[in-house]
Symmetry: C2
Subunit: 130 residues, 2 copies
């Protein structure tokens, strides 16, 4: 497990992926799910680093990517804040969903499954939430 809650967000880091990527995804997920309010301030780079027991540079890398995606905005000397633009959040959420769908179909196609076979596989598998 090894879970940490900071700034209202839950983090569970491991070594299977780059740390900055895990931090990025988990904050992005919190935003997409609406678990953290628009306009809200997220923990400072140093505070997050200390809480997660990782290097501030690693946290900053995640924050900068969020900024690039415009899911957050940064004000020097003040901190990093969730965007107030709900449409932006919605757009990115759907963009990421699109990518997941594409990747999924590509993977199954490479295994020789036809569209109707894929549909059948999905039908035989209702529950998968949370």
């Amino acid at each position: 497990m090894n879970e940490v809650t900071v700034g209202g967000m839950r983090f569970a880091l491991d070594l299977s992926q780059p740390l900055y990527e895990q931090v990025l995804k988990q904050i992005r997920s919190s935003i997409a799910k609406g678990e953290i309010a628009l306009g809200e301030k997220i923990p400072s780079v140093r505070e997050m680093a200390q809480a997660l027991m990782i290097n501030p540079n690693t946290v900053m890398r995640a924050y900068q990517e969020l900024d690039r995606e415009q899911l957050t905005g940064t004000r020097r000397g003040q901190g990093t804040f969730i965007t107030t633009d709900a449409d932006k959040v919605k757009a990115i959420r759907y963009r990421l969903a699109e990518e997941a769908v594409d990747e999924f179909f590509a993977k199954l196609s490479s295994l020789g499954f036809t569209a109707s076979e894929i549909a059948a596989i999905l039908r035989s598998r209702g529950g998968a939430e949370q």
Copy 2:
């Protein structure tokens, strides 16, 4: 593009992923799709390496993983051969499909999509086959 055909299989390598992984996936894909016959010999480590212009060790790593999955069998001094067990191929094909489905649902769940929303997304997207 930069495509190479060797042993009846098409390869297109890039630097976005480990080479051994790309070789592995593309051979596995050929087997799953039935593009290469059961029991057939695949090119030798050296021949494949030369054709793809990569190191023999890199090819061997891919071949060994195929052996571990029992999609191929290796006979020292003779070469590496596709399994003759059709059920084994079918089983692995479905196992990989299962994994793809799981990953897909996990990813969309982490974005806060419910099962019915996911179903809707999939419905609005029929064509994705080769």
